[in-house]
């Protein structure tokens, strides 16, 4: 038997080297593990689903603790079972799997050298390749997940920052509109002699005409948005509209309407309506 035939016979498959088959099986296993556990991470990130990504859950919990402590809110605690599972999985993923992989790899190399010298090895030949595959699957899974996370995370952070900007813009517009509404309310009740509407939203300067924003002490433009008087109805309702300068991804800007109803004799009403 020549050398080429010997090599071909020692292979699991004649078409591929054993190393190639190992890598293929490990990658396939890692892919399956990743795909069938990904939902736990991406879609249902919670303490009961810590099996897939214990490191990520640990990180999330740590960040959450920091936020809670900063905000002075009550710390959200994980159950002892969840904590111990997390710890066990971190040990398996980041300590045992790498050590097992290196040991199995070394052992296989030593085996090959022994075979080359013509010595026979000990029993349980299946154990080392099996260990190599299992540890490889765990490490491969971690590699796939972390590479994807590294790509997605910056985008996620950008989205988070942008969401905060939009939220802040919305809050600012509503806050400005609330101030404007209070000013309009005060204008309504102030007597005309004091520069008010005298139980009306009409102008104290130009009788019969509706009051302007300036007369009511409402700025038409602030750093947070532009404000207009949309409607004055029968001295019972005033509608203000505020638009933020921030442009949303859909092309429009956050927009709100603020309704002021002095409601004599009923109590006054303030209502905010989101337009965009």
């Amino acid at each position: 038997m020549n050398e080429t035939t010997k090599v071909a016979n020692s292979r699991f498959m004649p078409e591929f080297s054993n190393r190639f088959v190992y890598v293929l099986v490990v990658l396939a296993g890692a892919t399956l593990l990743t795909v069938f556990t990904s939902r736990l991470f991406w879609h249902e990130l919670s303490s009961k689903n810590i099996g897939a990504f214990p490191d990520a859950i640990a990180l999330r919990t740590t960040v959450q603790y920091g936020i809670d402590e900063f905000q002075g809110t009550e710390l959200t605690d994980l159950s002892t079972k969840a904590k111990s599972t997390m710890l066990a999985l971190i040990i398996v993923n980041f300590v045992l799997a790498p050590i097992g992989f290196v040991l199995a790899w070394k052992s296989l190399l030593l085996d090959r050298e022994r075979q080359a010298r013509g010595e026979t090895g000990g029993g349980r030949h299946w154990l080392r390749p099996a260990l190599l595959v299992v540890c490889g699957v765990i490490l491969g899974h971690l590699a796939i997940v972390n590479i994807i996370t590294a790509i997605i995370l910056p985008q996620g952070f950008k989205t988070m920052v942008w969401d905060n900007v939009v939220d802040q813009a919305r809050n600012d517009v509503v806050a400005d509109l609330t101030d404007a509404g209070i000013n309009a309310f005060q204008y309504y009740y102030l007597p005309e002699a004091s520069g008010g509407g005298g139980q009306s939203f009409r102008s104290w300067k130009n009788k019969g005409l509706p009051a302007t924003l300036e007369e009511m002490g409402i700025p038409a433009k602030t750093a947070h948005g532009t404000y207009t008087l949309k409607e004055i109805r029968n001295d019972t309702l005033l509608v203000l509209r505020g638009i933020s300068p921030v442009v949303l991804s859909i092309g429009s800007s956050p927009e709100y309407e603020f309704q002021v109803s002095p409601g004599t004799p009923s109590p006054p009403e303030f209502r905010v309506a989101k337009i965009n």
């Binding site: 498959m13 990658l27 399956l32 990904s38 991406w42």
Partner: protein
């Protein structure tokens, strides 16, 4: 080549079934998963996604038929069948996007389509392999 599980004239090389399934997973499921997670694939739902799935399967089956030393048409079909189950579970159960194959309404049709596409593609692979082998023999002569 060592054959396992021979039944009369039909023999199945189970190693190729296993390795073929691994090929399907690594060469098709992994890119699909990555594209899905990177939000590239959401725009491909519908007919284009079906083309991505079936064309990918056809390519890998062709590779199995072409690369193997023996005839591995049934093996490609079986590997595709197993992969069909995996992909269906992944799409319907894990990614939670619901049915995305407008071309295939019932699972039976899905598996039939998968096996037929894989078998035909593997047959083409074997054809290319035999044409190449014949060319080599003629060159030697």
């Amino acid at each position: 080549m060592k054959r396992i599980g021979e039944i009369k004239n039909v023999s199945v090389d189970w190693r190729w079934v296993g390795v073929g399934t691994c090929f399907f997973i690594v060469m098709h499921l992994l890119p699909t998963y990555i594209l899905f997670e990177l939000r590239v694939i959401t725009t491909l739902f519908g007919a284009i996604f079906s083309v991505w799935v079936f064309a990918g399967m056809a390519f890998i089956s062709f590779f199995i038929g072409w690369k193997s030393k023996g005839v591995t048409i049934i093996e490609a079909g079986l590997a595709a069948f197993i992969y069909g189950i995996v992909l269906m579970l992944a799409i319907n159960q894990e990614w939670g996007v619901g049915p995305v194959f407008p071309l295939v309404i019932k699972p039976l049709g899905w598996f039939f389509a998968v096996v037929v596409i894989a078998t035909v593609s593997a047959w083409f692979g074997e054809l290319v392999q035999s044409i190449k082998a014949q060319g080599k023999i003629e060159d030697l002569e």
